[in-house]
């Protein structure tokens, strides 16, 4: 079984409207050996992946796929299911898969949905190894493979915070484009686009981030605005730190001015030695030194209470989580070192912030904390004895519903004071349900680009819709981040249609990005020569921040090999399917696949959009029923000819040519004739089609017949 080729279908495609990968898989001799002829295969596979039992497959019930395995199915189909299952186990569940024969003997197209094409490919390759090992009865280390895939998934797919934002955008109908293999994502198209990079938006101010980095400056600014903060100041040396501690009153907190994530932060210090040591530790951590002066270390009065993280988006505090102190409980036989090792075996603990829990580190701060409890790493606590290992543990408990409105207001004010649109406020307070002033609580830090995971997956309590909040902040209600997008598909005259529609839109004031096989354009300016009638060209058109509209030529082959570059369009035009069979790849597919590829844009017309169809091509006519928007027909034929007549009679829109005159029915209403001088009785059909198609599209988007007439007569020759 060989995987010959894999296509990354990064957008809607002939299989589905979601991104997928399509692999061409040559089963080789396994074409003769469906699963029922592979002794013990089904049992071994089910033993290895018992969760395959959940796969319903075409039978449509639990165990459906198992039945197929038992009655006999081909390994291409098995590859589909195992790929989906591995993806699901290692990262996230995927819904969709297909396995279809090609025209070539033993070669299948195996399709699975993909969040990240590269990762889905890795899963498929692992699935192939697993299947081959299972066929031979060889051992396969599934755990090791899943661990590897999990790491790859974390690296290649969107991070949890970014994914939450992208999912929320998708749920609102806002499109997205990934701009890097990391977490930089464009939401929306063209001029209407916004960008996010994890939990930063394109409106997140760089100046505000710099302010938030400087904890001393932040504290002073918050204090001036009336946000409760701990008393404190920047210090210049270990002696100065001790002096500051005495001025402020112990116990104190010592931390680097621009540290991150609580690194090198020592809290609740009350002796000169401890304060001096904490100073040295913090001074080492500080990266650039203070913006103002001094060593880059601040000393603050210790605020007793629990550690809370309040997420502020715009003018609202969206969510709050708290951390409990990390405490290890002795068993009477394990040393503290061993207890920590055991705790770190918890599969929820990881090295970075993509895990809900972080691994316990036995750094100098933890050691000092132990020392103060009279313990060392080798101490063996009694059974039930609690050992404090970290004052502020991971943020795991959702408490959004308890958040007092006064505390929420203070957090919002703090974000505004620093100038951040999205911020995580570190608050220390006994009880987040009481005003800070009442309990001596304080905002101790402001974080730009806050982690969202703790709010999305709290260990205790409800997940919070933080992705939705961020999307709503970026796009006010009713805004979809879309610009008019016209996709032109079909076997004939696409470039002509694309150019005409682009020029027509430009007339109504649009700055049009156009991607066709002659190049990528903005208005009349050629941005890039060479064909742009592919997913890459379309993507570039949609990335252009100057574009207030986009007109995109869609080639059948481009759709087959890469999918569409957009999720939905306002207008899809199909010119013709004449000669589609010539496009089919020999031995791979027949004309049906090509017709589907031509139809792909029609499948993704927005509900209030238009499918503009050539009424003279029966295959195109049949596409009407797949169009989720309105249908507009154009044709050379007589009005009397059905189905055009029925369409108009039913209140539909259509553009009909009679001689050099065009007649526009809008929702059954006939407009005065449009005379298009360049079109005459003798103009051949293939030259008339593009003009008709473009004219119909322009009329559909609201260009008046009179204006269209002027346009056609000035620009068509």
């Amino acid at each position: 079984m060989q995987i010959r080729k894999v296509f990354d279908l990064n957008g809607p495609n002939i299989w589905s409207n979601r991104p997928a990968i399509e692999a061409w898989v040559d089963l080789g001799h396994f074409e003769e050996l469906p699963t029922n002829k592979l002794p013990g295969f089904t049992e071994r596979l089910m033993a290895q992946l018992p969760s395959l039992l959940e796969h319903r497959c075409s039978i449509g019930e639990r165990g459906g796929f198992l039945q197929r395995l038992e009655t006999g199915t081909w390994l291409g189909h098995v590859l589909e299911h195992v790929t989906l299952e591995l993806h699901s186990l290692a990262y996230s569940p995927l819904g969709f898969g297909r396995a279809r024969e090609t025209l070539e003997y033993g070669v299948y197209k195996v399709v699975v949905r993909a969040e990240d094409a590269g990762f889905a490919q890795l899963c498929m390759r692992s699935a192939r190894e697993l299947i081959l090992a299972t066929v031979d009865g060889r051992p396969f280390d599934l755990d090791a493979e899943l661990k590897r895939l999990r790491i790859e998934g974390g690296r290649r797919c969107l991070g949890p915070g970014t994914k939450a934002i992208v999912d929320a955008a998708q749920a609102r109908g806002i499109p997205h484009l990934r701009l890097t293999d990391g977490n930089l994502v464009q939401l929306g198209y063209g001029k209407a686009q916004r960008r996010i990079w994890t939990a930063e938006s394109d409106r997140t101010s760089a100046v505000a981030e710099s302010i938030a980095q400087d904890k001393d400056l932040t504290r002073r600014m918050l204090a001036a605005a009336g946000v409760p903060v701990p008393l404190g100041r920047a210090v210049t040396s270990a002696s100065d730190a001790w002096l500051a501690a005495q001025e402020l009153g112990e116990p104190v907190v010592v931390k680097p001015i621009d540290g991150n994530q609580g690194r090198a932060v020592s809290i609740r210090l009350d002796t000169e030695d401890a304060i001096r040591q904490a100073y040295e530790l913090a001074a080492k951590e500080d990266r650039h030194g203070a913006v103002g002066s001094g060593s880059g270390v601040i000393v603050e009065r210790f605020v007793p209470g629990r550690h809370h993280r309040v997420l502020v988006v715009g003018e609202q505090a969206i969510a709050s989580v708290r951390g409990e102190a990390d405490v290890l409980t002795g068993d009477g036989s394990s040393s503290i070192r061993q207890l920590v090792e055991q705790a770190n075996l918890d599969p929820r603990r990881g090295e970075d912030d993509t895990w809900v829990l972080t691994k316990i580190e036995l750094g100098p701060i933890a050691l000092e904390l132990l020392r103060r409890q009279g313990l060392t790493l080798d101490s063996v606590p009694d059974p039930g004895q609690e050992v404090l290992i970290q004052h502020h543990g991971d943020l795991t408990v959702d408490e959004t519903d308890e958040l007092h409105p006064e505390v929420a207001a203070m957090c919002v004010l703090a974000a505004q004071t620093i100038g951040l649109d999205i911020a995580g406020m570190d608050v220390v307070a006994q009880d987040i349900g009481l005003p800070l002033a009442e309990q001596g609580g304080a905002v101790i830090e402001v974080n730009a680009s806050p982690g969202l995971l703790a709010h999305l997956k709290p260990l205790v309590g409800k997940p919070r819709p933080v992705g939705e909040a961020i999307v709503n902040q970026l796009f006010p209600a009713g805004e979809l981040g879309r610009v008019p997008l016209v996709a032109v598909s079909g076997t004939r005259g696409r470039v002509e249609v694309t150019q005409l529609v682009a020029r027509g839109l430009a007339l109504s004031g649009h700055q049009v990005a156009r991607a066709d096989s002659t190049g990528l354009y903005l208005g009349e300016r050629l941005l890039r020569p060479g064909t742009a009638a592919d997913a890459a060209g379309a993507r570039r058109a949609l990335m252009n921040p100057s574009a207030s509209a986009a007109v995109i030529e869609v080639s059948e082959l481009g759709t087959l090999e890469a999918g569409l570059a957009f999720d939905l369009c306002q207008i899809a035009i199909v010119t013709s399917t004449m000669g589609a069979e010539q496009v089919a790849r020999p031995g791979v597919e027949d004309r049906t696949a090509i017709d589907k590829a031509i139809r792909a844009p029609i499948d993704v017309v927005m509900p209030d959009g238009f499918g503009v169809l050539n009424a003279d091509d029966p295959v195109v006519v049949a596409m009407a029923e797949k169009c989720t928007g309105h249908v507009v027909w154009f044709g050379l034929g007589e009005v009397e000819i059905t189905p055009m007549q029925r369409h108009i009679a039913a209140g539909g829109s259509a553009l009909v040519r009679l001689g050099s005159q065009l007649f526009w029915w809008e929702r059954g209403q006939k407009s005065p004739p449009i005379s298009a001088a360049p079109l005459t009785e003798s103009t051949p059909g293939h030259a008339v089609e593009p003009v008709m198609a473009a004219a119909a599209a322009l009329l559909a988007v609201g260009v008046s017949p009179a204006r269209l007439e002027e346009f056609l007569n000035s620009s068509v020759c």
């Binding site: 760089a206 100046v207 400056l217 009336g226």
Partner: protein
């Protein structure tokens, strides 16, 4: 002559509307005022010599032995140092020859804003936009309250962090730019040296090698043609950052195009540092000679930086087979490094006027694609006056927070107004980013007037920031407590991001100590000067001196603003001449000559006409509400509260508030314990009336007496003490007034007697009582609560008791607590408080003992 004290008056002050150092100096021998003036002038000249534009200085006599020097400043530390130098150095030495001048200059460089930030701040100030540094670095806040904006060097607060991250990633930037058809050098990311060489061959030689992330040209090598060169360059780049790019080497000069908003504002052609041979000197000698050029400095203040033959320079020379000892031929140009940055000695020629419009369009598109509002676009092209497609040039980098120095002071060519361009992008034409500011000053009624104006503004929908002696309030929420009538509190409100309008009680102390906390205000209200208060403190001995202090906010009224002045107080009326804006007078008396004259001249006044509070302009009268229906006046009885309302209405009217908002505002403004603690709070108990007030000077006593007279009563009683820091005269005068108005007086000495010995205040008050023609009973209690408690213990129906509260919150809680208990419990009030009465001692007069 020697310095006794130095005070920095940061805002408009008694002496000037500019920041000045106020120096108290004493003469060693014979007073020599002309000498003192010369010293002040020297301190000014020294500041000028290190680049500050300051112009005001003076010396004025204070006493026989003392004088006051006034020296304008920009940077406090520099001015203080200049002042020390002026005192310690002979004035006969010319300024330019003062030995410490270079140190002073160095200090100035250290503390002043860098050239980029400085240019933006100056442009803002020229547009009347206030600027304030938030740190000793380049973080500057423009404007105030909710209109504020910030910059950090050439970053604005709308410079996107995401855009900056994109610009940091050169490969990503190139991908984005290529997507919109902006010419970029094609290239690829390489992980190993071998890959780099393979990439170089694929792209076509020559190539450039650079770190994927980085700045200031660090780790960049260009024009590489050999395998060895590419591999070496890869190692250099990789040392800066793990990921390295190999790309097509471009021919031509380095250009930097500055895009601000959607405009190309400046362009410079940049050249690496070089020396030109004379056939005799070595490269080392040529460098040393060039460094003598006064245009070359060690810092960012000059248009060129010094040339450096450091490791990078030596390496570069070696690549061309040269050493510092090589002697170049006459006319031969030797480049000292590849990189054209100004900071390493490069030069910049302004070419703004020659940029081809197509090139400018590409630069603007590049900035927009990356998402930067201020961007430095690096273009390599043989010529900048031809489209990039023609020259085969390309955009090689997009820089966030670009240095502006090369455009402000290019080594040759015209400097460009880039600071102005940034300010114009941030603020639309005519926007000065200010919020309305009302400053309220005077001897009496400041706090109530401040509260009332804030109340009216808040009622009209504005988010109001208010400072007063009770604290700082923003949107009604108290964010600081204590006496907040000084400049620091004013600055806190003006720097608060939610404040749409500020009402600032502006007390004498802060004005003397630091000057005002703002440079301009829209309205300055002066309630009165009256008989004054705090006289004899801080060198303010005369009532006229005090009037000059209270006039400082009037002098800070902007040309479009107004002074709201009490027409009944001649010292306040005199302030009108110092106001640049309009004057609005107020008085309860509509036939006051000042009002009549002002109205006749078409001016606006606020007064009482036929029982109506009214705004009158010329013949036109707008009624605001019946006086006796406005709760603050307690049925029209409390005259000084009417004054406070008049002043408040005048201020609100001048700010352009609709009359309806003003009407609703004054009708809903009250002075109860909750909203205005200690401001004429009226309580009743079994036929007696208790008034709690904070007034503690003779003008306040006069006004209180006038108001109390309108309340029905049999006996008048008062609890009072005088503040120890007032003049003996004032303490006696207050006691004399008390004796004239009240039948029974409870006095005590404050816990903090402000410098007086125990018993002294009582003694002075007794002297005042003696000089009165009346002789009420005077009783002494051991403290404020004891005095209030005793007075309440002895209260009888028909009594009118005025409690002057000092510890406002404690006293109010004490009184209302006692009254509440008396209402709810069956024990009579007198019994509950009998122990207070027992502690009383008779001080003076009256019949019978306590």
């Amino acid at each position: 002559m020697k310095i006794e004290s130095v005070r920095s008056l940061r805002g408009p002050n008694l002496w000037s509307n500019q920041a000045v150092l106020e120096v108290m100096a004493s003469f060693d021998g014979i007073p020599d005022l002309p000498h003192a003036r010369r010293v002040a002038r020297r301190a000014l000249e020294l500041q000028q010599a290190v680049g500050f534009s300051v112009s005001f200085c003076d010396a004025r006599p204070v006493s026989e032995r003392q004088c006051r020097l006034l020296v304008q400043y920009t940077e406090e530390d520099v001015a203080k140092r200049a002042l020390e130098l002026a005192f310690s150095h002979p004035l006969s030495t010319p300024v330019s020859e003062v030995g410490e001048l270079p140190t002073l200059k160095a200090l100035a460089e250290e503390v002043r804003l860098g050239p980029s930030t400085g240019s933006i701040v100056r442009a803002a100030e020229r547009r009347g936009i206030p600027a304030r540094r938030l740190t000793s670095g380049s973080l500057v806040q423009f404007g105030m309250g909710s209109r504020m904006r910030r910059i950090w060097a050439a970053e604005t607060d709308s410079t996107s962090a995401v855009a900056e991250a994109i610009a940091q990633d050169k490969d990503l930037t190139k991908t984005l730019l290529a997507a919109i058809g902006v010419p970029v050098p094609e290239g690829q990311v390489c992980a190993t040296a071998e890959q780099a060489w393979a990439a170089a061959l694929a792209i076509g030689l020559p190539v450039a090698v650079k770190p994927r992330k980085g700045n200031q040209g660090k780790g960049v090598s260009t024009a590489l043609t050999t395998r060895e060169a590419v591999i070496t360059a890869f190692e250099i780049a990789v040392a800066h950052d793990g990921e390295t790019i190999v790309e097509r080497h471009l021919n031509g000069a380095d250009h930097r195009l500055l895009v601000i908003g959607d405009r190309l504002v400046a362009a410079a052609r940049r050249e690496p540092p070089s020396v030109t041979g004379d056939g005799k000197a070595t490269i080392g000698e040529l460098v040393a000679k060039e460094n003598q050029n006064p245009l070359r400095g060690d810092d960012h203040s000059t248009s060129l930086s010094k040339l450096r033959l450091d490791a990078i320079g030596l390496e570069h020379l070696a690549e061309h087979g040269l050493t510092p000892a090589s002697v170049p031929a006459a006319g031969q140009t030797v480049w000292l490094r590849r990189n054209a940055n100004l900071s390493t000695g490069g030069s910049a020629t302004d070419v703004t006027d020659t940029v081809h419009p197509e090139v400018a369009a590409r630069a603007i598109e590049a900035a927009r694609m990356v998402g930067l509002d201020v961007a430095g676009i690096d273009i390599v092209a043989t010529r900048i006056d031809q489209p990039l497609e023609v020259t085969r040039g390309a955009i090689v980098e997009v820089n966030a927070a670009p240095g502006l120095r090369m455009h402000l002071e290019p080594s040759s060519g015209k400097g460009r107004a880039v600071g102005e361009a940034i300010v114009d992008m941030m603020f639309s034409p005519g926007d000065d980013a200010r919020i309305p500011i009302v400053a309220v000053t005077g001897t009496n009624g400041k706090t109530t007037t401040t509260r009332c104006i804030a109340h009216i503004l808040a009622r009209s929908g504005l988010r109001v920031g208010m400072t007063c002696t009770d604290g700082i309030y923003v949107e009604g929420r108290r964010i600081d407590t204590g006496d907040c009538s000084g400049p620091k509190s004013a600055r806190a409100v003006l720097g608060h991001p939610r404040v749409d309008a500020a009402v600032l009680e502006t007390a004498r102390g802060g004005i003397l100590r630091e000057g005002l906390g703002f440079d301009l205000c829209d309205v300055a209200v002066v309630t009165n000067v009256g008989e004054g208060d705090h006289l004899g403190l801080n060198g303010i001995d005369e009532i006229r001196d005090l009037a000059r202090v209270k006039a400082v906010p009037v002098r800070a009224v902007s040309a479009r603003g107004a002074a709201v002045l009490n027409a009944d107080d001649p010292l306040v009326v005199e302030m009108a001449t110092q106001c640049r804006g309009t004057v609005v007078y107020f008085s309860r008396n509509p036939s006051s000559p000042v009002l009549i004259q002002h109205r006749a001249a078409g001016g606006t006044v606020v007064t009482v006409i036929d029982g109506q509070l009214a705004i009158a302009r010329g013949r036109h009268v707008t009624p605001v509400g019946r006086i006796d229906q406005l709760p603050l006046t307690v049925g029209g009885r409390v005259g000084f509260q009417i004054d406070n309302l008049l002043a408040s209405v005048a201020a609100a009217h001048w700010l352009g508030l609709p009359i309806e908002a003003i009407r609703t505002g004054v009708r809903s403004f009250t002075s109860d314990i909750a909203s205005a603690p200690g401001r004429f709070n009226v309580l009743t108990h079994h036929g007696s009336t208790i008034v709690l007030d904070y007034g503690h000077n003779s003008s306040a006593l006069l006004a209180l007496n006038e108001a109390l007279a309108k309340f029905p009563h049999k006996r008048r009683k008062v609890v009072y003490t005088a503040a120890g820091d007032r003049r003996d005269f004032d303490i006696r005068r207050q006691a004399e007034l008390l004796a004239g108005f009240f039948d029974e007086i409870y006095i005590y000495e404050d816990q903090c007697t402000r410098g007086r010995v125990d018993g002294e205040i009582i003694r002075l008050m007794r002297e005042g009582f003696v000089s009165s023609s009346r002789s009420p009973r005077v009783l002494q209690a051991p403290g404020e609560m004891a005095a209030i408690g005793a007075a309440i213990a002895r209260i009888e129906p028909g009594d009118l008791l005025l409690c002057q509260v000092d510890q406002v919150e404690e006293a109010l809680a004490f009184v209302s607590g006692m009254l509440r208990q008396a209402e709810t419990s069956s024990r009579p009030l007198a019994q509950m408080t009998a122990h207070f009465a027992a502690a009383l001692m008779v001080v003076f007069g009256g019949i019978g003992g306590a």
